[in-house]
Assembly symmetry: C2
Homo-oligomer: 143 residues x 2
C-alpha cells in the first residue's frame, strides 16, 4: 500500500542556487543533504509537511555530479524541472513485486539505497503515463 | 506560509485510462472529478494522504477538453507527464503578492477558481527553475 507522496524530485543545474530560490521565495529550509554516488547526484531534501502515515513530504533537489548520470542526461534533454515523483510505502519490496506482476517495468532487480537511508526503486515512465515513479521505504525514524 | 504539497498535476491524453492505471496499479481511488472550462480541462483528484496542516495531498490528473488549452499545448510538446506542482497555503492572495514582490512572475492578477472550489494562482516556470508552480487555498472543509 502506498501511503503518502514522499517527495517530488526536481532536477537542477546548480543545487546551491536552487536551494536558495526555495528558501528565499517560500521559506523552505534544507532538512538534509547528501551525495549519492551510485545515482550520480548531490541532493537537498526540503521538508514541506508531515503526513498522516507518520512520514513526511519533501522536495528533493537533484544536481548531477557526473555527465553520464541519468539526471545529467535528463537535464541535457529537458532542462530544469520535475524529474520524478515518489510514493512512500512501508514495504517497497512487496510493492515493487506487486506492480511488476501487473506488467509495469521495475528498473531495479532489488531496491537500492535512496535519500536518508531509505530503500527505493523506480518504475519505467513509459509504463506510468509518462511519469518516472519512485517507490520508497524510509529508514526508521527519519522524518 | 506554504504548509503542504497540495497536489501534483499530471497531464494525460485519456483521463479514464489514466485513472484506471492509478487504480489498478496502486489502488488510488477517485476522490473528486470536475470540468474546469476556464482551464480547458477535465480532471480527477486522487487523494493520497492527509497532511499535518489539516489538508491533504492529491494527484490531479488532467485531460484537455480543447485543443487551444494550455494543457493541450503542453501535451503536444512534451507528451504525458508531470505538468505542475502545487503548494497549499491558508492565504493564496498574500503568498502570491509576496512572491511577486520577490520578482517571481505570477500568472494571474487575482487568484482564480481551482479544483473543489479552491482559489489558485500559478508562478512562471522560468522564474521557478523550470517548475510550473501553483499556489492553492482550499475551500473550507474540502479535504
Amino acid at each position: 500500500m502506498l501511503t503518502r507522496i514522499d517527495h517530488i524530485g526536481i532536477a537542477c543545474f546548480d543545487l546551491d542556487k536552487t536551494v536558495e530560490f526555495y528558501r528565499a521565495t517560500y521559506g523552505f529550509e534544507v532538512f538534509h543533504t547528501e551525495v549519492n554516488e551510485e545515482q550520480g547526484v548531490r541532493e537537498a531534501m526540503l521538508r514541506v509537511n508531515g503526513t498522516d502515515d507518520g512520514g513526511a513530504s519533501y522536495l528533493q533537489l537533484l544536481e548531477p555530479i557526473r555527465e553520464d548520470s541519468t539526471v545529467a542526461k535528463w537535464l541535457a534533454k529537458n532542462g530544469e524541472g520535475v524529474h520524478h515523483i515518489a510514493f512512500g510505502t512501508a514495504d517497497v519490496d512487496g510493492e515493487a513485486e506487486a506492480v511488476r506482476e501487473k506488467g509495469v517495468r521495475v528498473l531495479y532487480d532489488e531496491p537500492r539505497r535512496g535519500s536518508m537511508g531509505s530503500r527505493i526503486t523506480f518504475l519505467h515512465p513509459k509504463d506510468c503515463h509518462g511519469v518516472l515513479t519512485e517507490l520508497v521505504t524510509s529508514a526508521p525514524s527519519r522524518h
